[in-house]
Symmetry: C2
Subunit: 249 residues, 2 copies
């Protein structure tokens, strides 16, 4: 067990840097905060490099931390490294786990250039709840290890594989395997209720403003839309993903 | 047309105060920001007290602003009164519109103590999309005129009535009228797919951590749950509302 009391300790600066994508990419790690997320990480296969505990905090006796490296810090340091307004006093540095290729999965959510961290995190949580095998993140989306994404997953980031992949390659592979690929679009699309419930499928959701890219929509087996009965122009992408995943599965 | 160039002008302080619930309640007004929201307000019946335009911004020629009071401000002032990191240079002060009693509505979303502004705003947007008549906000929810709520509605706040009401009274009235009231709960509930599609219904969603209050759940005709097929503990409340509203209607 280490102890850090001086807020000039270089380790603090290093941890704070993990709030940037650049540093997360460089080190292959990310920070999680709060009792719930740390507990979910402990229960999962993710590798925890360091547990960071505030001196004022007692960790639950159920946590198995015997083989973990951990550091005790002051409340002030804890707040300094935290990305939240009020830290719960518990954080961990985890290794990013990379699934290189999504070939083995048959029930998938594909994410094309979703920008909002809350939306991406909520969709990972929803994909988990709906029993998806994995979430494939295409290029141009917010970093999945962004702290707000991780927080919004409510731990689901540790429950199912998150694969970074070129979506064109994913779709080509799925089609070769005979797995139906659904896009989401307001144009050239059918009412989602017409899509049958199937054991294997992939659903693609897209950018908040522009939707799924046209070149991707052209490659799908079918594009679905959710009817708008009122005066709003569209649904939030995470809500739409929930309606569609729960219909399709 | 007025013009404000000095950032000591007392009007600025007054506008900034509208970011607090206290001032919104006192004045019966709220501030909206951005082209999309202001355009939606202009198209609606809401009363706009003041349009605030940054001197560097041209307003669209399609906007009918002839009878509106408006003020031109500097970029610096615009940013100061804005609740966003980068103001679009357009804002408006609107009157809160109060529907005193939800008696005339037959297709309703009832909100019990939802805390997160993004969740409440997204649910109002979803209720609009799903063709609900109104949204009833019970006690203990975040203020509907909070700027993040308004922003998350994407304009739906101007599309359907938002009623503040004691949910016990709402439920009693709905039951007298023979309108089915569904709660959402993980206990003593049936799979939502068993609930029939009906012309009139009310759905109650609850607090992010605690769900719908027990006393309210006891009064419903039936409580519904959404099955969790994976390892997540629950769904985000706005996603759950979307799945249920689109199933029921």
């Amino acid at each position: 067990m280490k102890r850090i009391e001086s807020n000039k300790n270089p380790q603090i600066k290093q941890w704070k840097k993990l709030h940037t994508k650049k540093e997360r990419d460089k080190t292959g790690t990310f920070m999680i905060e709060g009792f719930h997320l740390v507990e979910e990480a402990l229960k999962s296969d993710v590798i925890i490099r360091e547990l960071i505990i505030c001196e004022a905090v007692d960790i639950p006796s159920s946590w198995n931390v015997d083989n973990l490296s951990f550091t005790i810090v002051t409340e002030k340091i804890m707040q300094e490294i935290s990305d939240t307004d009020t830290s719960q006093g518990v954080a961990a540095i985890c290794e990013q786990y990379s699934v290189k290729e999504g070939g083995q999965f048959t029930r998938l959510l594909l994410v094309d250039a979703v920008q909002d961290p809350g939306n991406l995190g909520t969709m990972i949580r929803t994909a988990d709840a709906a029993g998806m095998d994995a979430v494939i993140i295409g290029e141009g989306s917010v970093d999945v290890y962004n702290s707000k994404v991780v927080r919004s997953t409510q731990g689901s980031i540790f429950h199912l594989p998150i694969v970074k992949e070129n979506l064109h390659e994913t779709i080509d592979r799925l089609k070769q395997k005979g797995i139906k690929v659904y896009g989401t679009s307001l144009k050239n699309a059918v009412d989602y209720k017409q899509a049958p419930v199937e054991d294997s499928f992939a659903l693609i959701v897209g950018n908040e403003g522009n939707g799924v890219q046209a070149e991707i929509l052209e490659k799908t087996d079918q594009n679905l839309y959710i009817p708008i009965y009122g005066k709003s122009e569209s649904l939030n992408v995470a809500v739409a993903a929930g309606i569609l995943l729960y219909h399709l599965r």
